[in-house]
Assembly symmetry: C2
Homo-oligomer: 172 residues x 2
């Protein structure tokens, strides 16, 4: 896997959570439906949902009419929450992960590169945590009604997504 390239776990997971956000408040959504809509293997998605459940992001109900639901409002779940569960914590290098840096690298104290990785880590977490599932849903709705939800810059514009006024967001 390439540096900064999401694996299918992260990508499918975000899509699945987005799918649940779209049906938030309608009761449990069976995995089969999500898998079909998002076009991913149901069995594989099962494994991802297990992680998200253990992390407390979704609840499940078994049996007929069962399925998965978000435990919180889509506005209170960020892309960062999901990605960190499925891809692991955002740590460009071991020396900026949880735990004692010197344990990971004996030169950690005097190493300037460590500051670079730290800066990168913070920046990525900030971006990922600035976008909630609700932002995703809103932006998609805007994309559908207009070529770009927030301006006229075309399909590559990222001006929406957590920057629109009134959008709920986690404050760290």
């Amino acid at each position: 896997m390439r540096f900064v390239r999401l694996s299918t776990r992260g990508k499918y997971g975000v899509r699945a959570m987005y799918d649940l956000a779209l049906h938030y408040g309608e009761g449990p959504v069976p995995l089969k439906a999500t898998a079909e809509r998002q076009m991913v293997s149901e069995h594989y998605l099962e494994q991802l949902m297990a992680g998200l459940r253990r992390a407390g992001l979704v609840t499940s109900s078994r049996g007929a009419q069962g399925g998965y639901e978000l435990t919180r409002s889509p506005a209170d779940i960020t892309i960062g929450d999901i990605v960190r569960v499925l891809e692991g914590p955002i740590d460009p290098a071991e020396c900026v992960a949880e735990g004692d840096p010197v344990e990971a690298c004996e030169r950690a104290d005097e190493c300037t590169m460590r500051l670079v990785w730290k800066k990168l880590k913070d920046c990525i977490n900030r971006v990922l945590d600035s976008i909630s599932l609700k932002d995703l849903c809103d932006e998609t709705a805007a994309l559908m009604s207009d070529s770009c939800g927030s301006c006229r810059a075309g399909p590559d514009c990222t001006r929406g997504l957590g920057e629109r006024a009134g959008t709920a967001r986690r404050t760290p």
Copy 2:
């Protein structure tokens, strides 16, 4: 390898380039010396240098008294330049890589997640390109003379690194 975790290629490569920056202007630096100082396998480093040479970041001279040199001033080579060569381009997903997005994913046009990955990509490139090899050298010198080069926030402070006045930096 984890999402956003650098492989040894990126880490060793940056260290090697930092080593060359430290000796910039002193003629070719033999790989053996760099490998010993940075404590990495010489033969492995050889492979990484090949990539950096092909990318035009270093030149090599063969034979006795040969070695590698930076092709530009340390102020004109960013961490981003190095990392992109050794780890590949920064593309959180295929749909934000070079080339036609719709080729990578047929839903690319209508997909809001794509905007998230785009935003992430831009942010990472921005951070990585804001720090030059010269910044690294300067910051290390400051770290050595003072507990933190730029302030008193202790070893986790990242306030230096491309933010100090007078530091040369690429303007895109």
